[in-house]
């Protein structure tokens, strides 16, 4: 029972983080390997805000999210777009964007190490117990989970109930066909990329409430987000959410039953199973 609840709580935050990457990879078609660093930057934003004001780190969302949006929009317009224009085919773009976002991620790490140091950082907020089915859990975990779910639900509704969301989904399905129905594909992609970065940074703020992190920890989150996106199926928001909970549960089970040092191994084994059994993801459609 313990494992299930902690796993679900973890999965909630993972869902938010992976939705960020899903928007960047599924809609803007950029495999952003700097995603985890954006998440850690969000976490540092909350850490810095809490250290300075002692107010709830949730308020940090108010400045972290717009900043991350602007920053990711700029990254797309300045760094990624030239690659999109230069690329002769999707394969070439993939290689280029992987390399470029690696560069960006290293620059992020370098700046964060310079600004906050290389040591582990955490802060204590709402670290009082809450009882669910008679078991103790950290209140910060539950609050973080609640906020993630609210944001996820908001995003899901926005994508499915508004015209802008429809445009995003159209680009995700087929960029050239979206262009034919007078959707500005480049602007939509830039928006999706920026929104994805903002969502990921929000995930970072929420994760920082109960997780210890350091500047170089981003790559682990990038990997987890990627595994979730692939497990759920590229371009499938529903799948992403389910996959996030699957990963949260699997990790918690391995951490508490075998060894806490094997969480990435758990994620990887899940990844391997997906690749061998259903490479198109849980809900993905098999392409011919």
């Amino acid at each position: 029972m313990d494992i299930v609840i902690i796993g679900l709580l973890l999965g909630g935050t993972y869902a938010l983080m992976a939705m960020g990457l899903q928007l960047q990879y599924g809609v803007a078609r950029i495999m952003n390997l700097a995603n985890g660093e954006v998440l850690i930057a969000g976490a540092f934003g909350a850490f810095w805000f809490f250290a300075g004001t002692k107010a709830s780190p949730l308020f940090a969302l108010l400045f972290v999210v717009p900043l991350a949006f602007a920053l990711n929009w700029a990254i797309y317009r300045i760094l990624i777009l030239p690659l999109v224009r230069r690329a002769k085919n999707q394969g070439k773009l993939e290689v280029d964007s992987i390399l470029a976002t690696f560069g960006i991620s290293f620059i992020f790490i370098g700046i964060m190490v310079a600004a906050f140091g290389a040591q582990y950082s955490d802060y204590s907020y709402l670290s009082e117990p809450i009882y669910i089915f008679g078991e103790r859990y950290g209140l910060n975990r539950v609050v973080s989970f609640g906020c993630s779910i609210l944001l996820c639900a908001g995003l899901y509704l926005w994508l499915h109930k508004t015209r802008a969301g429809l445009a995003l989904r159209a680009v995700s399905v087929n960029p050239s066909a979206a262009g034919l129905v007078s959707i500005n594909v480049i602007r939509t992609s830039a928006f999706a990329f920026a929104l994805g970065g903002a969502v990921t940074a929000a995930g970072g703020v929420l994760l920082s409430m109960y997780l210890t992190f350091d500047a170089s920890y981003g790559v682990v989150f990038t990997l987890k987000a990627l595994i979730i996106v692939i497990l759920g199926g590229v371009g499938d928001i529903r799948g992403t959410i389910v996959a996030a909970f699957v990963l949260g549960l699997a990790e918690t089970a391995v951490a508490s039953l075998i060894d806490p040092g094997l969480t990435l191994a758990a994620a990887y084994i899940l990844f391997m199973i997906v690749l061998l059994v259903r490479p198109e993801g849980l809900f993905g459609r098999r392409t011919a």
Binding site: P82, A100, L264
Partner: protein, 352 residues
């Protein structure tokens, strides 16, 4: 799907060794022999730097064997290197050292085969992602294993070797990698991989077993990284998970190969030499900012010199309008491609 029967390579000329190839080989052998004299002339710092250069050339060239023709960015060098180190460290007191070098290679082959079979059958992006975390994955398993079996987290590797000996060992391996690369480039396997790199769909329609070709080459390329682990372990003397599976190595290797250029076997060499010297300088000047600098290097290469130094040289060469037997760069690929199509058509006729 029928596999292609043993057939002559591109055109008739490639069956033998052309005059141009013979010249290149002669120059390569001369450079190799000249490089062998380095430890006799230099010692101390210069020798250390030379060892680094040879080591990274071996890493980057073996990386290129797979990632060059396929365009799949493998980030698993550190994982295979670490495996080689651990095999050596674990067996150093039990079996003779040369056996361990072979054993490291075998360990690399097994791991590469498992990873390759799982990831190389689907989209290239998945392979990149998997290789990115492989070092961390193996490190977690190692740490866990040591924890469970209660062994020490670090292992000592003590055998008596002088610095020139390390240099010669690494140089010899580099030579072997070059020969392997040259041989693969001429073989049907290399030809198949070039087609895969240009267009995987076309490759499948040509009847190439793309998955098998990719796995075989990934195995060869990774085995070299493991053997390098075995060669370097005694020089470091002490092996522990954090050091052996340092993911930084994978990125350095990729960046050196990209800087040099990935469509020529000698490309990495041109990247390794400037990068090693530059990196030495930078890590002395800015020891705390190496990650930031690595990021800047990545961006510079992607935006400013996407085809690497060899691309720049060949660009300049093409502009001079020199197109004797050597037909460099893009032209070469066109020639290869059209010859390949002709070859296939002929084969189609004979089998029909």
């Amino acid at each position: 799907m029928s596999t292609i029967e043993k057939a002559p390579l591109v055109g008739g000329e490639a069956l033998g060794v052309s005059a141009h190839e013979r010249r290149t080989m002669l120059i390569s052998v001369l450079i190799f022999i000249a490089a062998g004299f380095v430890p006799l002339v230099f010692d101390g710092y210069v020798l250390q730097l030379s060892i680094s250069v040879v080591m990274y050339t071996a890493f980057a060239t073996s990386w290129l064997l797979f990632s060059g023709p396929t365009n799949y960015i493998a980030l698993s060098t550190a994982a295979f290197f670490g495996i080689g180190m651990y095999v050596t460290a674990a067996g150093i007191d039990l079996v003779p050292y040369p056996v361990l070098i072979v054993a490291s290679g075998v360990a690399g082959v097994i791991m590469a085969a498992v990873v390759g079979l799982a990831t190389l059958r689907v989209s290239g992006v998945y392979f990149v992602i998997f290789s990115l975390g492989l070092a961390e994955l193996v490190r977690q398993f190692m740490t866990w294993g040591q924890h469970v079996f209660g062994t020490m987290s670090g292992l000592y590797v003590t055998i008596d070797r002088s610095e020139p000996m390390y240099y010669w060992q690494l140089l010899l391996l580099t030579g072997i990698i070059y020969v392997a690369g040259w041989w693969i480039g001429r073989s049907r396997l290399g030809f198949a991989l070039r087609i895969i790199g240009n267009d995987e769909v076309v490759a499948v329609h040509c009847g190439i077993n793309t998955a098998r070709a990719k796995v075989v080459l990934f195995v060869i390329s990774s085995a070299f990284a493991s053997i390098l682990g075995a060669l370097i372990a005694p020089r470091w003397g002490y092996v522990e998970p954090v050091v052996a599976f340092n993911p930084f190595l994978s990125f350095q290797v990729v960046i050196m190969a990209l800087l040099g250029g990935t469509h020529r076997l000698w490309g990495p060499l041109l990247g390794v030499i400037p990068f090693t010297l530059l990196w030495e300088l930078m890590s002395i000047e800015f020891p705390d900012q190496t990650t930031l600098l690595l990021g800047v290097c990545f961006l510079l290469i992607v935006y400013a010199i996407p085809n690497g130094i060899t691309g720049l040289i060949e660009g300049a060469w093409n502009k001079r309008g020199k197109t004797d037997g050597s037909v460099p760069g893009v032209l070469q690929r066109v020639v290869n491609g059209s010859a390949a199509v002709k070859n296939l058509l002929q084969r189609g006729k004979t089998s029909a």
